[in-house]
């Protein structure tokens, strides 16, 4: 009876195996693990003799022979790297490693001098690299602060501060480049003889610091200061250095941001699976082993639990989504399109407001102190106000649209990104296209743009400062003193909203990039403001905010942050290109020579002069490189290379899928064969017992005879 059941089961397995799909096979294995066969499978004799099991066993019994101990089979350590692997990396107890060490010492006496010297050099090199890496990472500032923030608020909030630190380093790099390319030569070689000297005049006032006019207008902060000095070689002069400095800054930023985007992309979306929605990571890599503090441990546990509940919520949501009827779907789509129209209307209204503010501020002449200051600052105030209010409205709107939590956050983010960058873009568009009044022709045009960017930057910082000390801190005080009052209940507990704060950072950095051509000290101002912002935000987070229960998925959106930064950089590049083109076109109107490109010069004139001074071969090469005859083959070559990469990745993907299926098949084959073997052995034993039983019966039957 027992054998008959087994045979039926084997037939079933044979039926299933030709099906060959992964899902079917895993069902079969589920069935088998639930039945009593599972214990047998792992207890059969042949199972212990399988090569894959033999390979794992000696590593467990650490003392089992020195050779087998070294030849561990876990992953990459199993191949012949073991003899050159550092002892510390071997998977053995210390006694085993000591024996291996003695053996290696004996071996070393047999290796020649050259080989041992090479090995010791490589060990020393590795040690030096490790020390350098350690030193560099300890140079990174604010490590303890970040650790404290992570302990109290989780990885999401920490990612904001890491992004901020990265931007500060980027700006410091820009400052270094600017001092090398622009400030240094100007300081050493001086400016032109007919440039306005830098000293305080009667019409200067304290408001100049905010308006960027007067004393600041003539200072090194703006474009107009850097005139062509005594450095006047054809290929090495102030204008060319200035322009190449700005270009280097933009190119370097592009390379660094693209690199970080790609690194984040690889981590998040490798092999088509998302890291943050993978629950296996949450369980198996979830706990932070460095936690000592009981309260930090409780917090971490609550984060993990909330993460898992969020995952379960999303599972339930996707089940619910799958069960939506047609009527419900129609209603939902109508609701969503209405809400999107509302969003578009809000955006349109915001842009119109900005346009109106720009027009108003340009009508203002700038006579009397504070009122004119307010009017001059009207566009930045409008932009900041719009960027403060609308994202929260978007957040409320997206909560009605019945998306999963992650999609809600992403949709709000996309809308807010569009709002921020488009509002900046519209403002720039109106600034560049304003009509030239009589008065403005007397001023330096690039300085005017620089002044607008400067005002944006200063006001952004002021807004951060006021937000922290005039909004967040009083809100917290209200919560603390009178928690039951109406005001406290209406405002609720404060959470640190990472996406919106990151958007602010990206906006500030975009302003810095757009304005660096007209206001070379903008990166320096940016560095200072960002460093102060770090401390302000640290104060806000640690003193005023409470940890959010629904944690923000950091790894998923670090790609998004860097991508937003790329968009900002792209906008800056487009603005610069557009302006250079305009410079070329409108050069006749530029009656006031200011900055490095005075006297009717443009960037193209200066580069032309430089190219003409080069030897013939270099000239013709450069002209060829800049012509269309080179651009077209270059684009074609890029397209071909891209296509080859894409098709290779697709082929790899297919190979991976095939290998996965093969793996499932082989493992199922192995299980089948082991069970077969066990069954056959059992049959043999049964057959052995049966004849011996008959042998026993005969002697007992003969006496009866």
């Amino acid at each position: 009876m027992f054998h008959a059941e087994e045979e039926v089961q084997e037939d079933k397995m044979e039926e299933l195996n030709p099906g060959g799909l992964m899902r079917l096979l895993s069902e079969e294995s589920t069935q088998s693990t639930l039945s009593s066969d599972s214990c047998e499978y792992y207890q059969t004799e042949i199972f212990d003799q399988l090569p894959s099991i033999q390979a794992i066993r000696p590593a467990q019994a650490n003392q089992g022979g020195p050779e087998s101990g070294e030849r561990t089979s876990y992953g990459a350590l199993s191949r012949d790297k073991t003899s050159t692997q550092p002892l510390r990396n071997l998977v053995m107890c210390i006694q085993g490693k000591r024996d291996a060490r003695d053996r290696r010492k004996m071996q070393r006496n047999n290796i020649g001098f050259w080989e041992s010297w090479r090995r010791s050099q490589s060990i020393n090199a590795k040690r030096i690299w490790a020390q350098m890496g350690g030193a560099l990472s300890s140079l990174l500032p604010w490590r303890r602060t970040l650790h404290a923030i992570e302990g109290r608020f989780g990885v999401g909030v920490k990612s904001y501060f890491i992004f901020l630190r990265y931007l500060i380093c980027l700006n410091l790099l820009h400052c270094a480049l600017i001092s090398g390319f622009i400030l240094g030569p100007t300081a050493y070689y001086g400016r032109s003889k007919n440039s306005v000297p830098l000293r305080f005049e009667d019409s200067d006032s304290f408001l100049d610091f905010f308006l960027g006019s007067g004393y600041l207008d003539r200072s090194p902060v703006f474009f107009g200061f850097y005139t062509r000095g005594s450095l006047d070689k054809p290929c090495l002069n102030t204008p060319l250095l200035y322009f190449s400095g700005i270009l280097t800054i933009l190119l370097l930023s592009l390379i660094m941001v693209v690199r970080r985007t790609i690194v984040g992309y690889k981590h998040t979306w490798m092999l088509g699976k998302r890291y943050s929605t993978n629950v296996c990571y949450k369980i198996l890599c979830g706990w932070d082993f460095t936690i000592h503090d009981p309260s930090a441990a409780a917090l971490k546990r609550s984060f993990i639990r909330n993460d898992l509940k969020l995952f379960l919520d999303e599972q339930r949501f996707s089940m619910r989504k799958g069960q939506r009827t047609l009527g419900q779907k129609m209603r939902l789509y109508i609701l969503r399109s209405t809400l999107n129209l509302i969003v578009l209307a809000l955006l349109g209204g915001a842009f119109f407001l900005i346009y109106y503010a720009t027009i108003q501020s340009q009508k203002e002449d700038g006579d009397n102190g504070l009122v004119s200051l307010l009017f001059q600052y009207l566009p930045p105030i409008t932009i900041t106000f719009v960027n403060l209010v609308l994202p929260h409205i978007f957040r409320k709107i997206s909560s009605f649209e019945d998306y999963s939590f992650t999609t809600q956050v992403n949709v709000t983010l996309v809308r807010s990104i569009f709002l921020k960058l488009a509002s900046l873009g519209i403002y720039l568009f109106f600034v560049f296209n304003t009509e030239e009044t009589q008065q403005s022709l007397l001023q330096c045009r690039p300085n005017r743009f620089g002044r607008e960017m400067y005002k944006l930057c200063i006001f952004n910082f002021l807004a951060t400062f006021c937000n922290a000390f005039l909004l967040s801190f009083p809100r917290k005080l209200v919560q603390e003193c009178c928690p039951t009052s109406l005001l406290a209940r209406m405002s609720g507990k404060q959470h640190f909203l990472v996406p919106f704060n990151v958007l602010d950072l990206v906006y500030g950095q975009t302003v810095s990039w757009v304005g660096v051509y007209y206001c070379p000290l903008l990166p320096l101002i940016g560095t200072v403001t960002m460093t102060v912002t770090f401390y302000i935000k640290k104060f806000t987070v640690l003193r005023c905010c409470v940890a959010e229960q629904r944690t923000f998925r950091a790894s998923n959106s670090s790609v998004l942050f860097h991508f937003m930064l790329l968009l900002g950089l792209f906008m800056a590049a487009v603005t610069l290109g557009f302006n250079l083109h305009q410079q070329e076109v409108k050069t006749k109107l530029n009656t006031v020579p200011c900055g490095p490109f005075g006297n009717g010069e443009t960037v193209f004139n200066v580069t032309d002069t430089c190219v003409k001074s080069l030897p013939r071969l270099a000239q013709s090469t450069l002209r060829y490189l800049a012509s269309e005859a080179f651009a077209l083959p270059l684009i074609l070559a890029e397209i071909i290379i891209l296509t080859s990469y894409v098709s290779r990745s697709r082929a790899n993907q297919r190979a991976i899928e095939r290998l996965k299926d093969m793996l499932v098949m082989s493992s199922s084959d192995k299980r089948f064969l082991v069970k077969e073997h066990a069954t056959i052995l059992k049959k043999k034993k049964h057959n052995h017992r049966a004849p011996s039983a008959t042998v026993h019966e005969n002697p007992s039957s003969t006496p009866a005879d």
């Binding site: 589920t30 510390r88 699976k273």
Partner: protein, 187 residues
């Protein structure tokens, strides 16, 4: 350099330095920590390799391990007898693997051992359920626990046997960017 210590011979310290990720100073400091767990049991003189083991209960009360939900399993997976009694060698080995300088492969091997509660070289569903319960201190309902464990196996299992072998685990770990930074204990 410095003062002459009498706890270990120079040869022993050299061996420790080669076999672990610690320097001589750190080994001596570790010995100090080991000694203060049980001052009457642990000899100060290790030059002749005394055979002294500390029980599990003493080691899991160390401040570095106290808040860790897997502290029992960590100590058990480094002990030779599987019961959690650590000699000084095993103590040093444990903190060496869990230190910052250990490479990813080594940590992955021991992480697998730690999560393998029934020590059968596979992370089966019961192992994962125990892990999850320790992680969340049983705040999830049993249905939720089962759903999460099933999803875990579905995501990580490559060879279709409904449990995670070491190859599956390692494949998953290589895609986790913060495994190295979370799986370490500073002592």
């Amino acid at each position: 350099m410095g003062n002459k210590q009498t706890i270990f011979t120079d040869e022993q310290l050299d061996a420790y330095q080669d076999c672990t990720f610690f320097t001589r100073k750190e080994i001596l400091r570790l010995h100090g920590r080991y000694h203060e767990l049980a001052p009457h049991l642990v000899p100060m003189d290790y030059t002749n390799d005394p055979d002294c083991k500390l029980p599990l209960a003493l080691i899991v009360n160390m401040p570095e391990l106290k808040e860790n939900p897997f502290r029992n399993r960590i100590v058990e997976s480094f002990s030779e007898d599987g019961m959690g009694n650590l000699s000084f060698n095993e103590f040093v080995d444990m903190f060496s693997v869990l230190s910052e300088m250990a490479p990813r492969e080594l940590k992955a091997i021991y992480a697998f051992k730690i999560y393998d509660f029934n020590v059968d070289n596979y992370l089966c569903k019961e192992d994962l359920e125990k892990t999850l319960n320790k992680l969340t201190k049983e705040e999830l309902t049993p249905e939720e626990v089962e759903l999460v464990c099933e999803k875990t196996i579905e995501e990580a299992d490559l060879d279709g046997d409904n449990k995670l072998s070491y190859a599956d685990f390692e494949n998953m770990i290589t895609r986790a960017p913060d495994f190295l930074s979370t799986f370490h204990i500073r002592i």
